[in-house]
């Protein structure tokens, strides 16, 4: 599913829950379903700044290679999509239940996508999902920083992909 489809699905999903209590129950449930964060990456350098709760975000070459392997299944190319770019695989976690649920939403939108896809996501979904308060200005919960971090990874890996593509082309010549 493309990020656009995912967002549309999420918006419909949330629109179907008018009651705020149920919405939060759903968010918390999404958090509970988030894949377990690898303990070996629970390090300060993967902590995203924020002062109310703790947030971890990991995206490594290794995680990426694995994600690339998954990408293979979808795209049928060897570890990278047709346009030559690989997807980025993230691991993320928080010690607060609601923040973790919000991370799960972000993961649905951003995880295992190529740099181009990530950078192409319009931040409008934040309003559409009614999550402004949690995902924008507030640097206390670390989620705004996390989104920024995801974008920085996408920019960095996007550049690496460019380099690799150029190297491959050079090789072919």
């Amino acid at each position: 599913m493309t990020s656009t489809d995912t967002i549309r699905k999420l918006v419909d999903e949330f629109a179907a829950i008018p009651d705020w209590e149920d919405r939060y129950a759903h968010i918390i449930a999404l958090g509970r379903a988030l894949p377990e964060y690898p303990e070996e990456h629970r390090m300060d350098k993967y902590k995203v700044s924020g002062c109310q709760s703790q947030v971890w975000l990991f995206a490594g070459e290794q995680g990426r290679a694995e994600a690339g392997a998954q990408g293979t299944v979808d795209g049928g190319t060897h570890g990278h999509k047709d346009d030559g770019s690989e997807v980025i695989h993230f691991e993320a976690d928080s010690d607060a239940a609601i923040v973790k649920g919000l991370i799960a939403i972000l993961m649905k939108i951003y995880n295992d996508r190529t740099p181009q896809e990530i950078l192409g996501v319009s931040p409008d979904f934040i309003q559409q999902l009614g999550l402004d308060q949690h995902l924008t200005v507030n640097r206390t919960n670390g989620l705004a920083s996390m989104m920024k971090q995801i974008h920085l990874y996408a920019i960095a890996y996007g550049r690496i992909d460019e380099e690799r593509k150029r190297a491959r082309e050079l090789h072919r010549q």
């Binding site: 705020w20 010690d95 239940a97």
Partner: protein, 424 residues
């Protein structure tokens, strides 16, 4: 004065039986009638972070801007004279408010944080040397700890820490042992912003004076809740922020004993703080101007003046009594929630309740209370060492203002209860 109803703990907010006319007082704060998230009434319990502004304070600033705004001191025209008069009038009001001997002892600052930094730099750099010791408390705000830590680093001095007992009071016995010939300064808050504890600063200052040690009292949380008298406390420095006293952000005051401050080097350099400037050498102005470089927050000073005038006019006996009722009700009601633990149970407290709930992150409580209209503050409250002392990462904190009602406390208890149920 009849507070029996309020004491019973169940009086509705706007009841005619209230000791003071709380409903009339609340009418002075239009923001409190706000509905948030579309529909829920606001229950503002984040007063320790900042207080709301009565309409008279808002109007005073607007009036100033519509009729008298000018830069102060340096001008000779009519507006400059009027702006200067208002600016200096607030200085005298601050002096009276904390009973300082001279108005020259009142320095405008951006707030408490800047006041600590001013003292740590201007007094500290001249008076603290390698090997000296500075005492802060384990319940101090980062605004006190960090500038003192930075001072110690600059000078090779040592920061000593006055510990906090399990109930959230200072271990004053430990103080006698901490003090020695190397102690140069004791900096401690009058009231803890996390625990609500009212500290016995008078005893601390007496101990210090006896040994010739300088004292700095952080009054950020005290001024809106206690009668403050710097001569009675007998401290050398006292600081507070206007925005925690129903006044503007960006302005506050530092009181400093004239003998000490007239000997102090300047802090920031610039206009107004000089007597004469030349490239050969510059001489500095007298108190208080020496410490007020550049254009000050003039409308902030005007607003602070209005806030003091308004605040002084309240019935403080009634308010203090009601505050204890609110505190007791909140303490009892929250304690009844399963797994909830209140951090800070000192016998003398202002209306602050910090709490944690077993297995639930304070941040989640904050979000779910907010959805119910209840504004709490979540986090370490700029007191990380205190969090460590109590073995928690963060707390949820409810803090009252003069406009807080018992029904708001009931809403608090109900909303926390619901949040905990949703998160369990």
């Amino acid at each position: 004065m009849n507070t029996s109803n309020a004491d019973a703990g169940f009086a509705p907010a706007a009841s005619a039986d209230n000791a003071f006319n709380l409903s009339a007082l609340r009418n002075e704060f239009p923001i409190l009638t706000q509905r948030i998230h579309g529909s829920v009434p606001l229950v503002y319990l984040d007063n320790a972070a900042t207080t709301q502004r009565p309409i008279s304070v808002i109007n005073a600033t607007t009036d100033y801007l519509l009729h008298s705004h000018s830069n102060v001191h340096r001008g000779g025209h009519a507006l400059a004279t009027e702006a200067t008069r208002l600016f200096e009038l607030t200085r005298s009001r601050i002096q009276a408010f904390i009973n300082a001997p001279y108005s020259e002892e009142i320095i405008y600052t951006r707030g408490t944080t800047e006041a600590v930094n001013l003292v740590a730099s201007a007094w500290g750099d001249d008076n603290v040397k390698s090997g000296d010791e500075i005492i802060v408390s384990e319940m101090d705000h980062h605004a006190v700890i960090v500038p003192m830590q930075m001072l110690c680093q600059r000078k090779g001095a040592t920061l000593r820490v006055l510990p906090v007992l399990d109930n959230g009071t200072l271990d004053l016995d430990a103080l006698t042992e901490l003090i020695n010939n190397k102690t140069k300064l004791i900096a401690v808050n009058h009231v803890s912003n996390t625990l609500g504890t009212i500290n016995d600063v008078k005893t601390i200052c007496a101990l210090a004076r006896h040994r010739g040690i300088t004292t700095f009292i952080d009054g950020a949380q005290a001024v809106a809740h206690l009668k403050v008298d710097v001569q009675d406390i007998d401290c050398d420095f006292y600081a507070f922020s206007a925005h925690k006293l129903y006044g503007p952000t960006g302005v506050g005051a530092l009181y400093g004993r004239a003998e000490i401050m007239s000997a102090m080097s300047p802090y920031q350099g610039g206009g107004s703080m000089i007597a004469s400037v030349s490239f050969e050498g510059t001489t500095y102005n007298d108190l208080p101007y020496r410490f007020e470089a550049g254009t000050q927050n003039i409308e902030g000073a005007v607003g602070l003046g209005a806030a003091l005038e308004w605040f002084i006019g309240l019935d403080h006996n009634a308010i203090a009594k009601y505050e204890q009722t609110l505190l007791q009700r909140a303490t009892e009601g929250l304690s009844a929630i399963k797994g909830l633990r209140i951090i800070g149970n000192a016998p003398d407290k202002i209306g602050i309740v910090s709490f944690v709930v077993d297995g639930i992150h304070a941040s989640d409580i904050g979000v779910l209370c907010d959805e119910q209209g209840v504004a709490l503050r979540i986090g370490h409250h700029c007191t990380m060492p205190l969090m460590k002392r109590f073995g928690v990462g963060s707390t949820a904190r409810a803090s009252t203002g003069v406009y807080t009602t018992l029904s708001e406390i009931d809403a608090l208890i109900k909303s926390v209860g619901k949040a905990v149920r949703m998160l369990s």
